[in-house]
């Protein structure tokens, strides 16, 4: 069972605004000075013991970023971000090679515990040897601020040729793969936040599934922003060769802090012929308090390139966290008959803003895409679905089905649907459906009459509303997501 399934049981109850992951961990940190310039980038590269080509790549991206401007086309609003007031590198100081749990920094262990990672996995993450057979069947990479602190199951995976390691390590150990694919889906100049990430990314996961291999277990990464005034810029690269299959899970939390924290990640997926990647995210970054103070600015670029014929990518996301979410996992459907799926639940409460959706770019023949977006808004929040479906001239027989449903709780929140549809091939068939509903009083009363508390009732109704998306998540992750939905909406009724 992956760690996530137990999170809510383990995590201590809320301190204030109901965010249960809001603890910060007192760990000895290695922190770069605040600010961003070439020297900081050099320092990051040096700490990561990177080869010269990587530093050059970063500096080039930095030069691009300097010439770019923050995008303003989305619906989100925030005070200007002072990029010079952030730390771009923060790492827990390592004590080398613990042999048992007793030797591990107790604060680090406590953090894993609060994240809900079961004891055995905690031990593995902390680098303690655990006999084969007693291990849980999920490989985990944990990224703590700027560094990957531990990756589990690597030996088992290596036997089937799967590489699962921190990207900083991949840069050193598998330079040929990284050089070939890094930035090949999302070039450094793609957008403002991608350029920033390319210049300063500190860690993240690297996955390589060789030809014909079905990854023998789920891979999962935990991201955690802990340090104060620190930006987190992780970078994930997943390559699925012809016929390969992998299911990858991503979970995120952050401590509760009054100031806003910046998170600008880049995720690139590459798929060859007949390859399949299922990429699931449960994003629970700190959303800010009930008055709208604090919270994570989550500006993420995620894109999959379906280069091979019949390749299939499916993005499934449950977004409950962040003060601002700006995120559009996209699919470039190059290979003939390739398939892109986007399944999303985005919950906003209090003063949260979410502007999220997807882009489906149909290039190959008979490419298919489906979009299911479920937006839930409560409090004074704003929830925007922004989706683009683009059919290029050669995409004969392309199909898209888009379904956007919004659920409103209360009358001070907003839900918006912004579809951009562009078809340059007359044989393409594109369908768009959108609904907006409210949790009706009679639904609530019906549930409560049967004995459910108002909160359980909302949880049940919301989960029903999201069912199509939740069923796309791996089982235990779905259980976690369900509980998370209920917790995020606590107090939003009545």
């Amino acid at each position: 069972m992956p760690a996530v399934a137990e999170t809510l049981d383990v995590v201590q109850s809320a301190t204030d605004a109901g965010y249960k992951w809001g603890f910060s961990t007192d760990i000895e940190m290695d922190l770069a000075p605040k600010g961003l310039n070439e020297d900081i980038i050099r320092l990051i590269s040096e700490r990561k013991e990177e080869p010269a080509w990587m530093l050059a790549w970063r500096l080039k991206a930095y030069a691009k970023w300097l010439q770019m401007e923050e995008p303003d086309w989305s619906s989100v609003k925030h005070p200007p971000i002072d990029y010079q007031a952030l730390h771009y590198y923060a790492a827990p100081k390592k004590k080398a090679g613990p042999k048992s749990l007793d030797e591990v920094d107790p604060e680090l262990l406590r953090m894993y515990e609060k994240l809900g990672i079961p004891l055995k996995e905690r031990a593995i993450l902390a680098g303690v040897e655990i006999p084969e057979g007693e291990r849980p069947p999920v490989a985990i990479d944990a990224v703590f601020d700027s560094v990957s602190v531990a990756t589990t199951f690597r030996d088992t995976l290596a036997k089937s040729g799967v590489i699962f390691c921190p990207i900083s390590e991949a840069v050193r150990e598998h330079p040929e793969l990284v050089k070939q694919y890094l930035g090949s889906v999302i070039p450094a100049g793609d957008n403002y936040f991608a350029a920033l990430n390319s210049a300063v990314f500190t860690d993240g996961s690297f996955v390589f599934i060789p030809k014909g291999v079905r990854c023998p277990m789920e891979l999962s990464t935990y991201f955690r922003i802990n340090a104060q005034n620190t930006g987190q810029f992780e970078r994930t690269l997943i390559i699925a060769e012809a016929g390969a299959y992998v299911s990858y899970l991503e979970g995120c939390t952050a401590p509760q802090r009054d100031e806003n924290q910046l998170h600008a990640a880049v995720v690139e997926l590459v798929l060859m012929d007949d390859a399949t990647i299922k990429y699931s995210t449960v994003q629970n970054w700190y959303p800010g308090d009930a008055e709208g103070r604090g919270g994570i600015y989550n500006f993420v670029t995620k894109r999959a390139a379906c280069r091979g014929a019949r390749s299939k990518v499916s993005w499934t996301q449950v977004e409950t966290g962040s003060a601002i979410t700006w995120k559009y996992p996209s699919c470039i459907l190059l290979g003939d008959e390739s398939v892109g799926e986007f399944n999303s639940v985005a919950v906003t409460t209090n003063y949260q803003q979410a502007d999220t959706g997807t882009k489906m770019i149909h290039i190959g023949r008979n490419t298919r895409s489906t979009i299911v977006s479920k937006g839930i808004s409560a409090g004074r929040s704003n929830n925007t679905y922004r989706g683009q479906v683009k059919v290029m001239p050669k995409a004969h027989g392309a199909r898209n089905h888009t379904q956007c449903d919004s659920l409103l709780i209360g009358d001070q929140c907003g839900a918006h649907t912004v579809p951009y549809i562009e078809s340059r091939n007359p044989t393409a068939k594109l369908e768009h459906e959108a609904t907006t509903s409210k949790i009706a009083d009679d639904q609530l009363f019906y549930c409560r009459q049967r004995g459910l508390s108002a909160e359980d009732a909302v949880g049940l109704i919301v989960n029903g509303f999201c069912k199509e998306v939740l069923k796309e998540l791996p089982m235990e992750f779905a259980v976690e997501a369900q509980k998370l939905l209920a917790v995020s909406l606590e107090g939003s009724v009545g």
Binding site: A440, D441, D442, Q443, F445, Y446, C447, R448, Q449, R450, G451, L452, S453, A454, D456, L460, I461, N463, G464, F465, C466, K467, E468
Partner: protein, 249 residues
């Protein structure tokens, strides 16, 4: 025992219930009849605690608890069940999941152990069989796409599973075919006993042939204008409400 005294209630300034006095002793089944719009459903909603209704006077107690002071879910935990005149649809929510969540909420509130999925399904399947319902009832989403009659049967199934001490059935017989009517009646009759009482709201004598009530009350314009034994229902069937209403006036 359910005890209602001088209950006045309304919605948005509109007075609907104008002084209801009603006692349903433990173990008894009472029927409420009355013209459309007389306040029968309103009475059931006020007893179950639906928001939006304002109680302006009177009291309602169940087994000594002040019902009007309790949240709807607390009333449910105390043993009150309302079979809705218009059951509500819950898209995406499976019937089995809904019922188990409901049952376990009630058990938790009563300090009883919760039922796991396996034990629950076993119990639910038994009830389904007893009520001669289709097996897929549990798999479907709560009332979504149910026919009128199926919705009513689902209410009865919920009642059978939740085992209330006081059931209010608001026109559960409307829209049922003859066989279903018997099944519903059997469901209520099977529950009858010293620990079960019921308020059966109906327009039809037919149901009361199967569920023979201890008392029959006639509600008109927010007041109970007549009460009597089972024969009162026959009288209404023969003469209509008009006769009774005029007589009372």
């Amino acid at each position: 025992m359910l005890e209602i005294k001088g209950l006045c209630a309304g919605i948005e300034e509109k007075e609907i219930l104008r002084g209801i006095d009603l006692v349903v002793p433990q173990g008894e089944v009472h029927a409420i009849m009355g013209p459309n719009g007389s306040g029968k459903s309103t009475l059931s909603y006020v007893l179950a605690g639906r928001e939006g209704y304002e109680v302006t006077a009177g009291t309602a107690t169940f087994e000594g608890h002040d019902l009007l002071d309790m949240e709807p879910e607390q009333r449910a935990a105390a043993g009150l069940f309302l079979a809705f005149q218009y059951p509500v649809e819950l898209p995406g929510v499976g019937n089995a999941n809904f019922l188990r969540t409901a049952l376990n909420s009630i058990r938790r509130a009563r300090g009883e152990p919760e039922l796991d999925a396996v034990a629950f399904l076993k119990m639910a399947r038994l009830e389904i069989k007893r009520l001669a319902m289709a097996d897929d009832m549990l798999k479907r989403n709560v009332n979504v796409g149910f026919s009128g009659g199926e919705k009513k049967r689902n209410e009865v199934l919920q009642m059978a599973i939740l085992r209330p001490k006081l059931a209010i059935l608001d026109e559960t017989d409307s829209g049922l075919d003859i066989d279903a009517l018997k099944i519903v009646a059997d469901g209520v009759n099977a529950s009858r006993g010293p620990d079960f009482s019921a308020l059966v709201i109906t327009h039809y004598q037919r149901l009361l042939d199967y569920i023979v009530p201890d008392r029959v009350h006639v509600l008109s314009a927010g007041r109970i204008i007549r009460s009597g034994g089972p024969e009162l229902a026959h009288e209404l069937e023969a003469h209509g409400y008009a006769g009774v209403v005029n007589e009372a006036a």
